[in-house]
């Protein structure tokens, strides 16, 4: 029997990036806020000191900061003809848990989507014909929001993080050294770009010689110390090469811990409960309003937390599952009929790489950082003419060195065996003289790719697991082949001894790590027949529930998702403060 707690104005479910942003925004507006986080408290000084943070075994391979799938996982399959089986081991994506969640162990790659990305359907249909957005059973949609509406919020997140970079488009003026393809920025980056080591520098030189416009990757690993508008201090990155999968012991990676929590945690109207997992969202009998959430803590006690508003700010897979378990958000999506919305348009990221091996150049790959790269954007989004190519979307290509962690990141030439004397000699010969170009491609939405509840497997609380049905489509394969060939062209121009092309072939596999950029399932749009939330991330059917995160993306663009989901969170918080609190109810009439 659940104990009923004192009602609060808002309950936040999951305390990573969007939970921290909404917590800060709503507490500053004077609301009484409780955040529920299923994992433990953790902080820079106490949990990932530089004396033991550089531990590849513990963090990458033993998953120490990630969701423990022993207790909670999901089931996976490539198509509806297969039986979904549990993801028994993390691989393709590394789910977060605990305070800060994925915001602790991300790379800090802070991007904005292109203006045309938000009109993926209408823009591509207009330029390439209607077939371009329906080929391969694509279910691409417009977002119901524009880049111009989001720009002030992108800017807020840049200023929160102190993002290091160089603007390429300042209020419509193209700037040398930046990304000439980006949407207009209202302001320069808060801190200058990171310094580049030899590998990314060589990439930039070769790309420029080919007529491309290389620029430094926008980075949440800071080039210099910075104090953000909340008074939180972020340090200068030391290029230790342990970002993604690790906590930063140096206070130099933007995270909820470094940018929000020192401010938010001291607020008297904010309460954080750790080790508290939300089981479902409770509603009135007619399912028109949420009344709060039921959660269980690690001592096994169950509580009902009444709340005026529910902010879903867990990872997308958990947000979508909570909607399905609670029976809200609209009809569950059915791939047979194409009807329904919850779970619709699950998408991912289409990555590939090209390794370069030099004889005469010392790359020193251990000098790195999560966003340490020189990038070209010529082949992202609709920055190039897709006529006759047979696909839509694109991605960026970068000479990127996030680190040289030797269990994961020793590259050996084509044809080298995976073990034995030949492997060992190749590892010793090439480690200091090799690195990789990263190709980071979009993933369009597809009729057969979706999320629902698994009919067989249940979690430790007896709830159905989430079921993921996903595969790359011909659109992704054609796009990836095209981008990878362009990257190989730059690689060859860098005059290495040899290259190795690692294309994205075949079906999606859960085994090799790709990227933790899962999107969709609680998508945004301009009407409830085609989406779960409106442009303020407010549920169409239950207006006092807001669903944050990349679950709102109707399809995924060719950039890392965090910048956009943070901007959407600020956009939502503004609407809650300026409109919803004055007149609670739907912010957009269906």
């Amino acid at each position: 029997m659940a104990t009923t707690l004192k009602p609060v104005d808002a309950v936040i479910v999951g305390f990573g990036w969007t939970g921290a942003i909404l917590g800060q925004q709503l507490c500053d507006a004077g609301l009484d806020v409780v955040a529920l986080e299923r994992g433990p408290w953790r902080d820079t000084a106490t949990d990932w000191a530089t004396t033991f943070a550089q531990d590849e075994l513990r963090y990458m391979w033993r998953h120490h900061l990630f969701q423990n799938v022993t207790y909670d996982t999901l089931t996976i399959r490539n198509n509806t003809g297969q039986d979904a089986l549990p993801m028994r081991r993390l691989g393709s994506f590394l789910l977060g848990t605990g305070v800060g969640s994925g915001g602790v162990h991300w790379n800090g790659q802070i991007w904005r989507f292109l203006p045309s990305d938000f009109q993926a359907k209408s823009h591509n249909a207009q330029r390439y014909g209607k077939k371009a957005v329906t080929d391969y059973d694509l279910t691409v949609q417009d977002w119901g929001i524009t880049y111009e509406e989001l720009e002030p919020h992108y800017d807020k997140f840049d200023k929160l993080c102190g993002t290091s970079g160089k603007a390429g488009n300042l209020k419509g003026q193209i700037q040398p050294g930046g990304n000439p393809f980006e949407g207009p920025r209202s302001d320069e980056y808060p801190t200058p770009p990171m310094a580049q080591t030899y590998g990314p520098t060589l990439f930039g030189q070769a790309a420029a010689n080919m007529g491309y416009h290389p620029f430094p990757h926008p980075s949440g690993n800071l080039s210099q110390p910075y104090v953000n508008p909340l008074g939180c201090q972020i340090g200068e990155c030391t290029y230790c090469g342990f970002c993604e999968k690790f906590g930063c012991g140096n206070y130099s990676k933007a995270s909820p811990q470094t940018t929000v929590l020192p401010y938010l945690m001291r607020k008297p109207n904010f309460l954080l409960r750790t080790e508290s997992e939300v089981l479902r969202i409770e509603t009135t009998a007619d399912k028109k309003m949420a009344t709060g959430v039921t959660y269980v803590d690690s001592s096994g006690q169950e509580y009902f937390q009444p709340a005026g508003m529910v902010i879903l700010s867990a990872y997308i897979l958990h947000n979508v599952r909570l909607l399905l378990l609670s029976g809200i958000g609209g009809q569950p999506y059915d791939p047979k009929t194409g009807e329904g919305v919850v779970g619709k348009n699950y998408a991912y990221q289409t990555t590939s790489s090209v390794n370069l091996f030099f004889d005469d150049k010392l790359i020193n790959p251990f000098i790195g950082a999560g966003s340490h790269a020189t990038v070209i954007d010529e082949f992202n989004g609709d920055n190039f003419d897709h006529a006759g190519l047979g696909f839509i979307g694109g991605g960026y290509i970068g000479g990127m060195i996030t680190g040289g962690r030797p269990i994961e990141m020793i590259y050996t030439p084509q044809g080298t065996p995976a073990w034995g004397l030949e492997w060992k000699k190749a590892a010793a010969k090439n480690y200091l003289r090799s690195f990789a170009l990263s190709i980071h491609g979009a993933c369009m939405s597809h009729r057969g790719n979706y999320l629902d509840l698994d009919p067989t497997y249940r979690d430790a609380f007896g709830r159905p697991m989430l079921r993921m049905t996903f595969d790359f489509t011909d659109n992704e394969h054609k796009m990836s082949d095209y981008l990878t060939a362009k990257a190989a062209g730059v690689a060859k121009a860098m005059n290495p001894r040899e290259i190795k092309v690692n294309g994205r072939k075949g079906s999606w596999s859960v085994v090799p790590y790709q990227t933790t950029h899962n999107t969709g399932g609680a998508i945004m749009g301009d009407n409830p027949k085609a989406s779960v939330v409106n442009k303020y991330l407010q549920l169409w059917d239950v207006p006092n529930v807001f669903s944050m995160g990349a679950g709102a993306y109707p399809q995924n663009a060719g950039y890392n998702p965090t910048g956009t989901l943070a901007a959407l969170a600020y956009h939502s918080a503004d609407a809650i403060k300026a409109q919803y609190l004055k007149a609670p109810g739907p912010l957009v009439q269906a």
Partner: protein, 260 residues
């Protein structure tokens, strides 16, 4: 304001120390939580709390010689196999001299061996390659079954011989067959899945921090030129194409730091 802790917290134990006895005894009674599920729930208001190791106590050093998990012929068999996966030669140490068997032994004796961070609930139908690990075994159970199956297979296929007595070419042939999934092991053991796990664990033991029992004297890091647990390369970012002169350093320092 502060934390309203339920269950047992270290602070609760320490402030309530008078009731239990000496504060030291109370502290000893509250083992450090390493951040997995099941830490006491905390309610935190009005402060940034100091809860050291809530997510992350520093790792425990795996020291000593000899095996704590491998029994009987398992140790010699693992040594003979990893000696082929990373053989000794003048380039650098072999897996055995690097301590990989001791590393694997300690891993199998610990949370990894027990299947922490593996979901092992049923049912267990055979999956597609894309669905990854689909065994009901913990890694420790898998090693135990697979090592016996390999020993039995060799005994039968090579007229009563042990793996370690085979010629190097015969050893490599069997390992390649395991890797390719073309050898059928007794008792339905999935040789390909086992080889994948063993090769991964071998590279982990070879290249992880020596605190875990492998990578002895950081010789594998020296071989490739990885400086280890350094955390500041600011002076070297813009020095292109130069050799970084730092010798490797591990969590516990390096040999030169210890008074002889």
């Amino acid at each position: 304001m502060g934390r309203e802790s339920k269950g047992i917290s270290r602070r609760g134990l320490l402030t309530g120390g008078a009731a239990i006895g000496a504060a030291g005894a109370a502290a000893a009674a509250a083992p450090k939580h390493d951040g997995e599920l099941g830490a006491p729930p905390q309610a935190i208001r009005g402060e940034v709390p100091w809860i050291e190791g809530a997510a992350d106590a520093p790792p425990q050093a795996m020291s000593g010689k000899g095996y704590v998990w491998f029994t009987g012929a398992e140790g010699p068999l693992i040594e003979a196999i990893v000696d082929r996966l990373i053989p000794p030669d003048p380039t650098g140490p072999g897996a055995v001299e690097a301590g990989v068997p001791v590393f694997i032994d300690r891993q199998l004796a610990g949370p990894f061996g027990q299947g922490q961070h593996f979901y092992l609930g049923g049912p267990w139908p055979k999956g597609t390659p894309e669905q990854g690990y689909q065994s009901r075994f913990t890694p420790a159970q898998f090693y135990r079954a697979a090592l016996k199956a390999i020993a039995d297979h060799v005994f039968k296929a090579y007229g009563g011989l042990e793996f370690k007595s085979l010629q190097p070419d015969a050893k490599d042939k069997l390992l390649k067959d395991l890797e390719a999934g073309t050898v059928e092991l007794p008792d339905g053991v999935d040789g390909k899945a086992f080889f994948t796990m063993l090769l991964q664990n071998t590279k982990e033991g070879y290249f992880s921090d020596p605190i875990y029992g492998g990578n002895r004297d950081m010789a594998a890091w020296t071989m490739i030129g990885f400086p280890g647990a350094h955390y500041d390369y600011r002076d070297w970012v813009s020095r292109h194409n130069e050799r970084v002169p730092f010798p490797p350093v591990a969590f516990k320092g390096r040999p030169g730091w210890t008074a002889s």
